[in-house]
Symmetry: C2
Subunit: 339 residues, 2 copies
């Protein structure tokens, strides 16, 4: 059995899609129990639309909501009865194994560190996102938690990402690469130049060197390591270029009578292909290195992403990822960082 | 009349495509004269394939070639008779107005600064690249020259980019934005937080605030300011995601008999649409802020990009961009940087 707390009030489509995703998750996986956190009456009204096993979805009341634009540190400190703070506390106390939220990224990141807390030895918990590639998926780490990170942080990101990719996604000996602006070791900014030799020394990693951004969509590495500013730019540009091109392809197909007829014939095949490039399939982004699991899903998440984010918590718990991270980061390594 | 020196030996497709692009350029624009720089015999052999106005294409011999993998500073210092050094010297001496090269990026950047030299007041010459968007093009500056740049550099990039976009591309009052990982002023890394208020104070700029990477392909700003590591990641990911998606669309269309028939009907319309998203249309990336014009084109440039890169030099000269940059950067501004 696994208990997942879900922020019913966070995200653009809350509570409708959050509740729907929770219902779908418990129907698909018998071991999942969900705690829907938020305003009780609102959630109950939403839940009344569905039939489901009442033993496996419970509501935990939280009267407040943290808005996206609120300064995160302040919000976490003051809104003790918000869905995010209450949900995080459920993880801290052990009443839940994981917390899934589509709410304020800043509040989720701050709450994860302040309330759930870091695993001993972890300097900075990174946000890790699976991104689609030509051959499957890669893990982009850090995609949003720690801007201006240091080289020792990046080494930890690489090690945590490698564990996640191997044991949650199932990639044996994942290839780890650092985002750079050229393939050669001497290329890069100060941070990359400092981090590169440290990664080379990590005997527990299959480090393959630099990866240029151009190679990311081709699946050039399994674990793509970067500082969060770069990672966030990559994540969002990925979405932006993808959306724009698909929009342009559709527009092009609708531009002449001939192409419209062609579009009808092409559509089913194209849908299957492009689905593979849809990030929402892969669930949310875990904040790694915490004493518990916190998963951030897109603010625009629909039930599918919510459902998949809940389901991904099962493998995380089964594979004891946190125990593996604890062991890896507390084992003596030549590059072991001192905070 | 404008004289453009072209590096006939640089790039993956040299000398064939470089020479072909030069021939095309002089045929299209009567005011263009080209100096093809490189190994005389090789160039003459290539030129003999074409008919063209012999008065308007001349060969300038340069016996050496700088390879992409050579350390740039060393290469520029030692290979005095390389096509890049000879070409840059033609600009320095005024025998050419501009130099176009598809060769080693590092050598072009170093050569531009060391041989051609900076305009007074310019701290760091940035590389500026036009990137396609849904609505036309935006200027990405700096896309590769100065990693670990400082805030005063970014302010200069914004001002030079704005001049380029207004007078070369013809966008009135270009919207200037800084790449960030959130829309709010307090978001970002240390560099962005420091640069944001400085840009706000620039009365000569139409500064619109932060731009998230997701909005770049939608044409969210005309001049997109960033430090070169981020800019290079954006440029290369743009190409990578675009290439991957187009590849996947084609694969999807070829997957069933039905879709194959549809593909035939869709093809012409789709080609027109996707051409608008092809970066090679827009010529190369100028290194702004030099006493002369240096344009870096893709290493993989074909004749079309070479031709367009040569033609873009005409507007640059006609509009006296360097004079405008000199005036703008030497006028007292509240944010005027001290090196």
């Amino acid at each position: 059995m696994i208990k997942v707390a879900v922020d019913a009030m966070g995200g653009d489509n809350a509570p409708v899609e959050m509740v729907a995703g929770a219902v779908e998750a418990v129907k698909i996986r018998p071991e999942i129990h969900v705690l829907l956190v938020g305003q009780e009456k609102v959630i109950e009204a939403e839940l009344s639309k569905y039939t489901f096993d009442k033993e496996r979805i419970h509501v935990v009341n939280a009267s407040e909501i943290i808005a996206t634009e609120e300064p995160p540190v302040n919000a976490i400190r003051k809104k003790k009865d918000s869905s995010i703070v209450v949900g995080m506390n459920l993880v801290k106390s052990g009443e839940a194994d994981a917390f899934v939220s589509a709410g304020s990224s800043g509040a989720v990141l701050v709450g994860g560190q302040v309330i759930v807390g870091r695993i001993k030895g972890v300097e900075r918990p990174p946000l890790a996102s699976l991104i689609p590639t030509e051959n499957g998926v890669s893990l982009l780490i850090d995609c949003g938690a720690n801007v201006d990170a240091r080289s020792s942080h990046l080494v930890q990101f690489a090690r945590m990402g490698s564990i996640y990719m191997e044991h949650v996604v199932g990639v044996k000996q994942p290839r780890v690469a650092i985002v750079n602006i050229g393939a050669e070791e001497e290329k890069g900014n100060a941070l990359v130049k400092e981090t590169f030799p440290l990664l080379k020394e990590c005997s527990d990693l299959h480090f393959t060197g630099s990866i240029e951004a151009r190679e990311i969509p081709h699946g050039g590495a399994d674990v793509i390591v970067c500082e969060a500013f770069t990672g966030n730019v990559i994540l969002k540009l990925y979405e932006g270029v993808g959306a724009t091109l698909i929009h342009m392809v559709k527009k092009g197909m609708m531009s002449t009578l001939r192409s419209k007829i062609g579009a009808l014939l092409v559509k089913p095949a194209l849908k299957t292909t492009l689905k593979a490039f849809d990030a929402s399939q892969y669930g949310g982004a875990p904040l790694l290195g915490l004493k518990g699991l916190v998963v951030k899903t897109h603010g625009s998440s629909t039930r599918t992403e919510v459902r998949n984010s809940i389901i991904q918590c099962v493998t995380f718990k089964e594979q004891q990822i946190n125990e593996k991270i604890r062991q890896a980061l507390n084992t003596e390594q030549p590059t072991s960082p001192i905070s």
